[in-house]
Amino acid sequence: MDETGYMKALRDIARIAGEAVGDQASSDGGGAFDADAGCRVMALPDRLQTKAAEVAAKENPTNAPLQELALGDGVLDPLQLTIYTGRYWGPVPKTLTVSFMEATAADLRARIVEHLNAWAKYGGMSFTQTSGTGDVRISRGPGGYWSYLGTDIKLIPANRQTMNLQGFTMSTDEKEYRRVVRHEAGHTLGFPHEHMRQALVNRIDPEKAYEYFKRTQGWPKEMVDQQVLTPLDPTKIIGTEADQDSIMCYQLPGSITKDGKPIRGGLDINPLDASFTATIYPKILRDQGVAGTTTEAAEVPVPRTPTVVDWDPQEDVVLTS
């Protein structure tokens, strides 16, 4: 996704969030008081936007503008800096088609797709089988469990799988479907590994990790660094607090942590996963019948802007620190 794409996605999210809370400002002319409008998103006047962003960043560093979204000498409007994922599909609900690389029985196909769609309960992204070549192509062959990240799947040659679920059959335990298939579906939606969050990586003792994975897997230090010790760049992600019970978090043993306590790892989509998904992939447009495919963008309603309120600049509150 290029810079223009990021900006459009971020604007769309802001607009959808405004619609979700019933902001009618732009549709009724933008300024007239409407006693029936209910809760509104209220925006500060322009002169205070920069100051507001500075205060927000000071209060919580994750509110800071993302460096990679800087435009030349300028920086994006703070309203557009509330969410970012590098492989994000965008806020308009989409249905990704799914096909299988090997001959796969109908009941097994349906079971796997049902678990992919566990995320659709909370957000606007869903999966559906196709007899053709799917956006998501699943192999059950060797290589373990993996998936490409988010929109990267569109770059994978059509004769290659985008997701690997080695050995999954109808005999596989239902718990494994929840833990593995839903985890890999999360990657397809653009979610990276939760155990790579800085707060969780900080709990790991590198020397213990090197020894452990060398002994159990034969992994060199570089592989351990890549798999468990390199935190995600906090300026490139936005999300919940690091969550060791997320479905996207691996289980790591207490023998490699500094405090001796394991990083538990998630077994299913948990409430934080669900709420974050609902935020970045809002269902509202799907419920309104607006949806897109990965190849055909949905018609996006004209953006609305929050209601701007203003007062005498002499009444502005000056914060000192």
């Binding site: 373990g144 993996w146 490409y148 897997q217 992994w219 592989m223």
Partner: protein, 102 residues
């Protein structure tokens, strides 16, 4: 002529002994591997499978590594551990003796 030998332990099993020739490269579908003992075999690496995307970039999936590459360097005999299964939950270690002939 050197050969690329594809070994898939979970699908095809592992023979107790694998006889190869100097120069052969063995690709094992596994999450990890190590040379337990012996000589003649070099562990080239534990690697993550990647593809060249339609935009020309190299793309790597999120997940554990899935390939172990070994090279038969000289005549000898080595015992190699091959680790499959989820590395973070229930890894399975199996051993194979690789005999390298001239």
């Amino acid at each position: 002529m050197s050969r690329l030998i594809d070994v898939r332990p979970d699908e095809d099993g592992l023979p107790p002994e694998l006889v190869v020739a100097v120069g052969d490269v063995i690709r094992v579908a596994a999450n990890g591997g190590r040379i337990r003992s012996g000589s003649g075999v070099e562990l080239l690496g534990v690697l993550s499978e990647s593809v060249v995307g339609t935009d020309g970039s190299v793309l790597t999936p999120l997940g554990a590594p899935g390939a172990v590459l070994l090279r038969a360097r000289s005549p000898g005999r080595a015992v190699v551990d091959v680790i499959t299964g989820d590395p973070f939950r229930a890894p399975v270690t199996r051993s194979v003796t690789i005999r390298v002939e001239t």
